[in-house]
Structures are given as structure tokens and as C-alpha cells.
Amino acid sequence: MSSRTRIALSALVAGAALAVLTAFATTAPAPVVAAKPGAAGTTAPAVPAATGEKKESISTADHSKFKELQKEFKSGPEVTKACLTCHTEAAKQIQKTQHWTWEFLNPDTKQTLGKKHIINNFCTAVESNQKFCTACHIGYGWEDQKFDFTKQENVDCLVCHESTGTYRKIPGLSGHPPYKDMEFPPHTGKIVKAPDLAKVAQSVGKTSRANCGACHFYGGGGDAVKHGDLDSTLKNPGKYLDIHMDKKGLNFTCGTCHMTAGHKVPGSRYAPTAADIKDAAPHLRGKMVTTNPATCQACHGAKPHPAKMARLNDHTSKLACQTCHIPEYARGQPTKMSWDWSTAGKLTPEGKPFKVQGSDGHDAYDSKKGNFTWESHVIPEYIWFNGKVDYTLSDTKLDPTKVVQINRFEGSPNDGKSLIWPVKVFHGQQPYDTVNKTLIVPHTFGADDSAYWTNFDWDKSLAEGMKVAGIPYSGQYGFVKTEMSWPITHMVAPKADALSCAQCHSKNGRLKGVQGIYMPGRDSNKMLDIFGWGIALLALIGVLIHGGIRIITRKHEG
């Protein structure tokens, strides 16, 4: 090889290397810049357009061709009126549902539940904060107790049916989307664009994962905060995260399991179906069924494992499917594990609220809310659960010396109705009335001088919240430790990731603390073990001595 060709070659190689490097340099930062949905915190974020190649629609109606929708809409209710010209019964259907009323009467415990009534240990309560919270209400204009729940155009059709991903309800607007561009969250310089309502209206179709997720992935004030098994990673999940929703696989929507008819969405965590083990194939076509279609058993039956793994079917009378098949929660991103309101209100020397980021990039402190912890790949806690949940409501007397159970999951190994369930237990510390011994509804959001997030004064905030909610308040408050349980039921893993036998069948396995069952490998009768091994040891010592004497006596002979 001549020196000239060598030089030419090395120039070529160097050039190619440079080209590759440049290519990387220009493409690499892109994902960092890419907007992270829900990173804004307490928002009901934009629904992204369906990704991937567009499938041919199987619908018989193309809403973009409907003249009712080919006009300029000034507000959400105007769009709803247009929807109702054809879908005459839709609003009436919606108005009967929990999605609309935020009320649920538990037929079992007779407790009146629902977002409207319960006090949780996340953002605590809706009352007096409607303008903010109702960003996740499927309606328009619920800003205080005067909201008209019967007005049909108050129903928000778009949030559940639009598919552009541009329609976004902002906290503070009482359930409306912004009708002109606005900065949100305030003072961040981020602009939320007002959606083109005509385009949004023309895009409607069946409810997608992103539609449900617009609220349900962001419960508790941000992405992945509340459930641990529902967050924005389910918009386009891979097989690892969710075997049923796998974008390249079964590609289920939420409604595939939560089989909705007449806008009634089955499956409720206020009255969950804990044990659904009676029938082999309950939801066979043509069969009249009234049972919950959203359970695993509704499709898989009570003995879902094939014959060669028949022993696994022996477990279905004691274990919820979820216990083995959802080995961890928060498998897509971290979920919030605790929230301590008692530390809220620290301000900068200039009197401004601030946030502190934890090592994982999530907020560890927020002046408005207090301290948080986050965890991912969390091993659930396991409890006997029969579907009955007992809430600590605003009038329930609590014992401040103990951790208050916001919602107590009932169950026992002997009631014949319970299975062992995985749960997320969320730990909180929140205000309570030290005289009346009740939880408190704080007034957090608003431009008035009592809203905590504006003025950081608990006395004013709590008095106002309780006044609006109509609950007696002594004026004395403290902070009490609370716990809230969440059944883990979404993000079912592929079977290869299900728990293996020894993860429970061992001395320090997952079900270590679960009483009322005998588990080989975990349990044994201690007395029997002492006697058994003891006598076997004595027998061994006995024969060794006997044999020893035989050897000695033989030697003497020799």
C-alpha cells in the first residue's frame, strides 16, 4: 500500500467517524428536550394523539363530515349542545354515573363516598377547592356548591372522546379547557394553548387509554402519584409493563375490561370485587350476567392455568390473581409513597414558596404541600380482602394516638369471601381537629386570602374549608398520621415475570405476615420439628455409639 492511498484511507475513516459523531451530537439531546407529559405536576394534562401508524377507522360515522360540528365553538358547553342534537340520551346517561356525581353510596356499609365526600391523604378534599379539582370532572363549571348537576350542556363529552391530544382541562378553570392561550403552571413560562374546539369535536371516537388516563393517570395531583398501578406509561405500554395493553400485542383499552354500556363504567374501588371465583367462564356471550366484567376471572375463569401447571389452580381459592401476576407496582415510573402536610408552609427569605427536588428528580418538598417520598418497583403489602372498605369520613371520630385508616380493607382467612390481595399503602400526615377528633377539609386553592396555597396560613385555610364543607370545627388543629390502601390490579405483568413459588413458599417470603393459611416452606409445627429432628439425631447418635462399641470390641479381639 502506497503512502498516498494510506493517507486517503485514513482521511476517509476520519471523515466517516466525524459524520457519525455529528449525527449523534445533533440527535442525542432530542429526547431530553422532548416534553414530558404530566411533568408539570398538578395538572390534567393534554391527551396525546394516538401514536404509531394510523389504523383505518371501523366506525360508520366520520364526525368531521357532520355539519353540526363544522362551526366555530366558543366553549365546551357549546360543543356538548352540538353532540346532544344527535346523541340525545348521552348527557342523561352520564348524569346518573359516579363520573358525574362524584358520589357513591356503598350499599354494603351505607357510607356515602365519592370524591365529593371523602377526605383522603393526598390533596385531602374537594369541598371549597372545586375550581381546581374539577379539572378532572367530566363537566363544565363546577366551581362551588351551586353547580347545576342537571344541566345537560354542563357535561363534557370531549375529555373522554376526543382524539387530537390537544384538549386539556386546566386546574383552576372549574373543568373548562383554556379558551385562550394561558401560562400554566403559573409563573413557569409554560404556555398551554387553547384547543381548536371544532377540530377537537370533529375528532371524537371511542374512548382511548389516553382519554381515561387524562384524569386517572394523574390522580392525587400529578403523574403516577396516587395508584402505583396507573400512570402515563400506560398510554403506550410495552409487553413488560402490561400484558393486556401492550401496544404491539393485545392493545387493550381501559374499556376492554371496564366494559361500558350506556356510559356506566363497571369496576369500582369503592366497592371492589375481591373474590370472583364461583364461575368458570362467567362472561360467555349470550349469558345473562350481572357480575363485574372487569375482574380477571370474568375472562380467565377460576382455573386459568393449563393442566401441566394445575397446581397453580390450587391457589385460586386463597389468592387474588394480582398477587402473583403483578409482582411489583410502579414498574413504569416512581409513585408517591408518602405525603406529610405538617411540613408545608416553609418559605424563602423573600416569603416565596419553593420546591426541593429529590435525587430521583421528583419533588421531595413543596411549600404548598409538604414532604413527599417516591418509590419505583415497589413490592406490595399483602392482606386478606373481601371487598368491603370502611372509610374514615368527615364525621368519623378518630384516635390521634394511632395511625388513622382512611379506608380500612376488611377481610379474614375464614369468612369465605376473602382472597389475599396486593395493596399499595400510602402514608400521610394531615390536619385534624384536636378537639372534635375529626379529619379536616382544608381550603387550599383560590385567590382569596384564606386559601393555603396563596397565603400559607393553616388557621384561615382550615376554618374556611370546614365552613364551606359545613362541618363543625373547633379551631384547634394538629397533624395526624394516616394510611390509605389502594388495591393493586392494573399493569399485569407477562407470565414469565409472575412470582415464582419460593417467593412466598419460604421462611421470609412475601406472605410472611399473612395469617390464617398453612404454607409449605413457610410454616411448620415447631414442636413436631423439635421432636422429629431430635429423635432422628438420638437414633443417629445411638447407632454411632453402638457401632463404635462394635469396632472397639472387635479390635480387642484382634
Binding site: S317, H505, Y518
Partner: protein
């Protein structure tokens, strides 16, 4: 004392003995792992292999029972108290002072009186305990279909199964040791392999 060779263990009997020995040893190893005593095969494999070994042993026993009845060999296990005291005395003292064995094997009485009692105990007490409890353990899922779920708990089924297992372990220790108590330490063992015993 003259010695003579007799053929005490037929071919099937030897096959039965050694395959049963292998299965029982394996079932002890896997069974005590399922019980949580140690980790060796892994819980899942231990359960699966223990089950396979159980079915193999059941099959083997079906053949063994058939063989014993068709050959009349079952009579070898009819208990007798005759010379039992002599046997005890021999194991306690005589074996050390090399007095002659109080029992003389023949093809019709190949087990000494203590053996007869021990094997009968094995068959009438240990086996039923281990097999019945094991059967219910194995078919745990069918208890409600059989209508026995009201009377059984896995805790007690496991208790009896483990009790049976400990009895087998203790039997096994004594059995192995006494196998060395022939006229030479390996005499009985050789006989169990070749079928021929010097008497």
C-alpha cells in the same frame, strides 16, 4: 459352624428394594425441602419431583403387593414374639461379645423376629400415615369437590405427613445401621445385591 449359601432375595425383590430405597431417599430429600428445612432443588422443583417420585413409588408398590400375594412371600411379615427378647439381648450385649446370632435365616424365614415387627410397623403404621396424608396433600384442590374440606385443614394434613416423614427418617437410620449387623458388616448388604446370604 458350617456355613451354607441360601438364595433369600429373588430378583424382583431386590429390584423392588433398591428402587424403593432410591425413591424414599429422594422423597426425604425433596420432602424436607418442601417442609422448609433447607434449599437444594428449589421449592418448585422439589414439589414437582416429590410428586413424580410419589406416583412412581405407588406404581412400584402396586407391583410389590401383587408379587407378595402371588408368591406367598407376604407370610414373611407375620409377626412373632418368639426370640424377640433374644434379639434384643443380642443387640444389647451379644453382638459385642460375639455370641452366635440367635436367629438362623432360611428361605422361608428370611427376617429375624425384630425385622418382622419393624417391617410390619412400617407397613401398618408409617405407610398409612404418610400415604393418606400425602394423598390429601396432593389433592388439596379437590377437597371441596370430595366434601372433605369441612373436616380437613392443610395444617393438620401437613402435620401428619411430616410426622410420617420423621418416622421414615428414623426407620431409615436404624435400617441402614442394622444392615451392617450381619456376620460381617457387609454381609446383609451383599445379600440384598446378589440375593445370596451365607447362613
Amino acid at each position: 459352624m458350617t456355613t451354607e449359601r441360601i438364595h433369600v432375595f429373588k430378583r424382583f425383590e431386590r429390584f423392588w428394594h433398591w428402587s424403593q430405597a432410591a425413591l424414599i431417599i429422594f422423597m426425604m430429600v425433596s420432602g424436607f425441602e418442601v417442609h422448609g428445612a433447607y434449599k437444594l432443588l428449589g421449592f418448585k422443583s422439589a414439589v414437582e419431583l416429590h410428586t413424580i417420585a410419589a406416583w412412581s413409588l405407588i406404581t412400584l408398590w402396586v407391583f410389590a403387593v401383587f408379587w407378595h400375594f402371588t408368591t406367598g412371600e407376604w407370610k414373611q411379615y407375620i409377626p412373632t414374639m418368639e426370640k424377640v427378647d433374644a434379639m434384643f439381648k443380642y443387640y444389647l450385649t451379644g453382638i459385642f461379645t460375639h455370641v452366635p446370632h440367635p436367629f438362623r435365616q432360611t428361605t422361608l424365614t428370611k427376617h429375624n423376629p425384630l425385622q418382622r415387627l419393624a417391617y410390619l410397623f412400617f407397613m401398618l403404621v408409617i405407610s398409612p400415615v404418610i400415604w393418606f396424608s400425602g394423598w390429601f396433600y396432593l389433592f388439596y384442590a379437590d377437597w371441596s369437590a370430595w366434601g372433605v374440606d369441612k373436616y380437613l385443614s392443610l395444617e393438620w394434613v401437613a402435620f401428619f405427613h411430616t410426622t410420617g416423614a420423621f418416622m421414615i427418617l428414623i426407620f431409615f437410620i436404624a435400617h441402614i445401621y442394622l444392615a451392617t449387623a450381619g456376620h460381617t458388616p457387609l454381609a446383609h448388604i451383599k445379600a440384598m445385591i446378589t440375593g445370596w446370604e451365607e447362613v
